[in-house]
């Protein structure tokens, strides 16, 4: 999250300053990839690149604060994933059914979490959640969106989003506890 200097960075990027856009990209692209590695692990890199192309197309006309910016970027990304799924006519893959080898983790997420409690292990644990809970947690935690923005993005009510997030966190704590993650 960029914070207070976001408006200046965005304005500079819209004027064409490469360094400002680089800061926006460095801030958002890791979050984007983490989100994609959970909801579309086989399309993560391609969809991320296509998302930035769409962002560049609409960059000069974008108006809003940092929350709106991140919501916009992730909305583009999510729509691209949905379009790609429709185009390939592949059945939606439940995150819980994704084999461990297709995720960006090791073969045993729990073991890796014990040894290297890294981002990839955490993503593997999130991927073990039901899809809505996983997506809501990712959008809240990784993308940094507020509940209302997440609700709008996933097409649910803010209450449903809140409930899904809390249930997902409780389940995530159980998975981590089972994997032996302790403080």
């Amino acid at each position: 999250v960029i914070g207070d200097g976001f408006e200046e960075e965005l304005a500079a990027a819209q004027r064409g300053h490469e360094a400002a856009f680089a800061r926006l990209w460095r801030d958002a692209n890791p979050s984007l990839l983490r989100y994609l590695r959970v909801i579309a692990p086989d399309l993560a890199d391609d969809v991320a690149a296509e998302t930035w192309l769409r962002v560049l197309r609409g960059l000069k006309s974008f108006r809003g604060d940092e929350q709106a910016w991140r919501a916009w970027v992730f909305t583009i990304c999510r729509h691209l994933v949905i379009d790609e799924r429709r185009r390939s006519k592949a059945p939606a893959v439940q995150l819980s059914e994704v084999p461990a080898g297709r995720l960006a983790t090791g073969t045993d997420a729990a073991d890796e979490a014990i040894e290297h409690f890294s981002t990839r292990a955490a993503l593997a644990m999130v991927a073990a959640l039901p899809p809505l809970q996983a997506e809501v947690i990712l959008l809240r935690v990784v993308a940094g969106l507020e509940t209302g923005a997440v609700a709008k993005l996933v097409g649910r009510s803010p209450g449903a989003v809140r409930v899904a997030a809390h249930r997902g966190l409780r389940r995530l704590a159980e998975i981590a506890a089972e994997a032996g993650v302790t403080l």
């Binding site: 990209w25 993503l123 947690i137 966190l169 981590a176 506890a177 302790t182």
Partner: protein
């Protein structure tokens, strides 16, 4: 009704608040219950700093940014504006110059067709754009001033050299009569040896035929004694010639008394003694 406390409900609201704080990243780990602490570690890992592979596509993204909207140097906008201002100024100057040239050319063409140019310029205009010849510039010269005046005018409008009747290439005269400035009845139009040989260009000269187009009302007569009265019918011995590459307007541009006058032809008559009288 007694007011019963609901300890379970209070615990649930506290846990929701802790979860909300966990999601927003504002809560302290020590405030969390032991059951939620592993989740806090997972969320902290999700918020970890980006790894190298997550930033690997930066160069490609920047290249795309440069292609679509970007510029790498903040000074570039002023650099880009300058050529546009300069080019607009240059284009305005070029447009003004083109307008001036067009007006000048139009005026020159108008003057050329009106015959108002100096004789040399009029001749050029006559050659290149088909404007009237230089002697068209004085339309009032016809039939005024008598023979002496006509000769004088002719000498003025044609290129005489003393003793050398020098027609211009497009004129149909083939001889080089020596004109006399005085309108004497015997102007001795014999060719002068000092004259350069006359070259026929675009004309079909046949010896014995005084060359003129079919539109002329007079024709050559083989008789060396030219009469002052023009013969209205062409001679059978000299059929009208096709005028290829010939400009009829050159003949029309000739003074009237020239058109209705016969000149001796040196090739037709070795010793011509024409009495070139002028008709008015």
């Amino acid at each position: 009704m007694p007011n019963f406390p609901w300890p379970g409900r209070r615990d649930a609201s506290a846990e929701d608040a802790a979860l909300a704080a966990l999601l927003s990243g504002s809560g302290e780990i020590e405030d969390l219950s032991a059951s939620l602490r592993p989740a806090a570690d997972v969320l902290a890992a999700l918020r970890a700093r980006p790894s190298g592979d997550e930033l690997a596509g930066e160069h490609a993204a920047m290249a795309e940014f440069r292609d679509r909207v970007g510029m790498s140097d903040p000074a570039l906008p002023t650099r880009r504006r300058r050529p546009s201002v300069l080019s607009s100024l240059l284009s305005a100057k070029a447009a003004a110059a083109a307008l001036c040239v067009a007006v000048a050319l139009g005026g020159a063409a108008t003057a050329a067709y009106a015959g108002a140019l100096p004789s040399s310029a009029q001749r050029l205009a006559h050659e290149f754009i088909g404007a009237p010849a230089a002697h068209h510039a004085m339309p009032g010269a016809h039939g005024s001033g008598g023979a002496a005046g006509s000769w004088a005018r002719h000498r003025r409008h044609h290129h005489f050299r003393p003793g050398c009747f020098m027609p211009r290439p497009h004129q149909s005269w083939s001889a080089s009569p020596s004109p006399s400035t005085s309108a004497s009845p015997s102007p001795s139009p014999s060719p002068t040896p000092s004259c350069p040989p006359f070259r026929f260009r675009h004309h079909h000269f046949r010896p014995g035929c005084f060359m003129h187009g079919p539109h002329h009302s007079w024709s050559a007569s083989p008789s060396p004694s030219a009469s002052a009265s023009p013969s209205p019918s062409p001679s059978p011995s000299c059929p009208p010639l096709p005028f290829r590459h010939h400009h009829f307007r050159h003949h029309h541009a000739m003074p009237h008394h020239f058109r209705h006058h016969r000149f001796p032809h040196p090739m037709r008559s070795p010793s011509p003694s024409p009495s070139a009288t002028m008709t008015s």
